[in-house]
């Protein structure tokens, strides 16, 4: 069953869908869905006042958000199952703390996409803002599981404090990607921003190109790594444009950040001087 929620344009106020669980919505009849509470500018309203609800049978079970989706914040917050598709740009905290299910955005996403994500799969067919897959302010761990794929570019501090999971950036990443990385894997098919991996303890940062790395990173030669081949095969299956060059030659490996443990690694195919 497919439930479509079309956000009607009634101004620029943010519509917080953090309390809306896709699996719950999919289990309710239209009349009850319309009575669910959403927060508009922080005030509670019945969903039916701002959304047009439609239901259709067949195909995949999914909740679809469309219309003025750029006003929506916290879509898929803490979702743990089912599928949520967003057709259009979406605001911040999309997929934050999600632990299961599938979330797909056919547009751009705001800041804090998949922040503290713990499981499931999240994909954005566009760009995202800062703190993608990162840690909540004041918390110690960022992503702890799941797969987050961004087909475009990401802002600063993507994957900050990441503990586990996979973050893939098909475009370029902003500054301080993987800052404070605890473990997990970040793959940036484009160019890595400055300051990448600052104070990373463990984990892997893989990039197509990068400027000079921070002084806490030491060169460790070329590295033909089997685990990376497994990951690249996974990216191929996801339809991501892995550069042919990546299959032909090993990346340069740097260990670090030696300011902390030195147990992490940055793999870069090209260092741009």
């Amino acid at each position: 069953m497919r439930i479509e929620l079309e956000l009607l344009s009634t101004g620029s106020l943010p519509v917080d869908l953090g309390v809306l669980s896709p699996s719950k919505v999919l289990s309710l009849p239209i009349q009850e869905i319309e009575k669910l509470t959403v927060l508009v500018a922080g005030f509670p309203y019945e969903l039916g006042e701002h959304f047009k609800v439609a239901q259709s049978d067949g195909g995949v079970d999914e909740l679809v958000l469309c219309g003025s989706t750029n006003r929506i914040v916290s879509a898929g917050f803490r979702m743990n199952s089912a599928r949520l598709a967003i057709h259009g740009d979406v605001g911040p905290f999309t997929g934050a703390e999600m632990s299961g299910g599938e979330l797909e955005v056919f547009g751009n996403a705001g800041d804090c996409l998949g922040v503290a994500m713990a499981g499931g799969s999240l994909r954005v067919h566009g760009n995202t803002g800062d703190w993608c897959g990162a840690v909540h302010p004041g918390h110690t761990k960022g992503m702890t599981g799941g797969t987050l794929i961004v087909d475009g570019n990401v802002g600063s501090e993507a994957g900050a404090g990441m503990r586990r999971g996979l973050l893939v950036i098909a475009g370029d990443s902003g500054g301080y990607t993987g800052v404070g990385l605890l473990a997990g894997t970040i793959i940036c098919l484009g160019r890595l921003g400055a300051g990448a991996g600052l104070e990373m303890k463990r984990g892997s940062l893989v990039a197509g190109s990068s400027g000079f790395l921070l002084p806490g990173f030491r060169p460790a030669g070329d590295a033909d790594l089997e685990w990376l081949r497994i990951y690249l095969a996974c990216l191929h299956r996801s339809g991501l444009p892995v550069p042919i060059d990546w299959e032909r030659r090993p990346p340069k490996r740097f260990t670090g950040d030696h300011l902390v443990t030195g147990k992490g690694e940055v793999l870069v195919y090209e260092i741009i001087k």
């Binding site: 089997e226 497994i230 690249l232 095969a233 147990k263």
Partner: protein, 298 residues
């Protein structure tokens, strides 16, 4: 029943459940993958002697393996999951880990698992690290040509062991040729192995012995040199007997392999094909030779 002048006994092979694992070994070349696989299956001939029976499975193309390199599958069987786990740990650690450029992946999804990588990772002496992808955890152990990658857990399913064929004939060379052809046919059956050297066993055994500390001994009933001294199972014109032991991922796989083996053994010089059993008392799987030839036509 006769086929091409060869007597096929109206009897059955008695097979029993065994714990089984399938490993996918990859390396930089098919030769290196095969080398690691041969080392890992070494001396795993019979559970009588080493509690493990193992053999080579399919050759895998790069697109069939997790890391996109040439691969070789192997199957390992034991009489219990605990014993199999012990052998997985030993054989991955002692044979595959030291093999140049190798990696070792789980090739069988099963409810029961052996946490081999979780124990072997300590070889990394603190420099090991792990990766998790699609619900699987891979351990990376630094070694002198890069890293040895293995999985945290390996599936242990319920397979079938003890399928067998006994080929008897008047001329040793001809019977051996037929047995080797049967071994090739068994090996070509997906999910089946014939763990003896070249797939062929020249020493059929019986449980126990006249000596109290010997668990198994020669089956004198099939020894041509003893026909005049014991209650023999062979006729005077038989000069050579070869046995093929078959383990597989399921009863169907073992049955299919036995049928393929029998057909391949229909050659000049072979007088009779039979199978070993314990009167149906030990194993729940009774693979009747005549039925197998009907169920699995060539």
């Amino acid at each position: 029943m006769h086929n091409q002048g060869i007597l096929i006994d109206d009897t059955f092979a008695e097979a029993f459940p065994m714990a089984v694992s399938r490993l996918v070994i990859t390396a930089d070349s098919p030769r290196l993958a095969l080398q690691a696989a041969q080392a890992a299956t070494g001396l795993a001939i019979s559970i009588i002697g080493c509690a493990c029976e193992a053999g080579l499975g399919e050759i895998l193309a790069p697109e069939q393996t997790p890391d996109g390199r040439p691969g070789q599958a192997i199957l390992l069987f034991s009489y219990s999951a605990e014993k199999l786990e012990e052998h997985l740990f030993l054989r991955i650690g002692q044979a595959i880990l030291p093999s140049a450029t190798s990696a070792c992946f789980n090739g069988l999804d099963a409810e029961k698992t052996a946490r081999v990588g979780n124990r072997l990772r300590y070889f990394g002496d603190g420099y090991q690290s792990s990766k998790q992808l699609d619900g699987r955890r891979y351990w990376r152990i630094p070694v002198a040509d890069g890293e040895f990658v293995l999985e945290e857990s390996y599936g242990m399913g319920e397979g079938v062991g003890g399928g067998n064929l006994i080929i008897l004939g008047s001329d040793r060379a001809a019977v051996l040729e037929a047995a080797e052809a049967a071994a090739v046919a068994i090996h070509a059956t997906p999910g089946a192995i014939a763990p003896f050297p070249g797939g062929v066993c020249r020493s059929p055994s019986k449980p126990g012995s006249r000596y109290k500390n010997v668990r198994a001994s020669t089956n004198e009933a099939y020894c041509p040199t003893l026909v005049s001294r014991v209650a023999t199972q062979i006729s005077p014109e038989v000069r050579a007997v070869y046995e093929l032991v078959i383990d597989g991922l399921s009863e169907e796989v073992v049955g299919r392999a036995m049928a393929a083996g029998m057909r391949a053994a229909f050659r000049p010089g072979v007088l009779r094909i039979t199978a070993g059993n314990y009167g149906g008392r030990l194993g729940p799987y009774h693979l009747h030779l005549h039925e197998l030839l009907k169920i699995y036509p060539g």
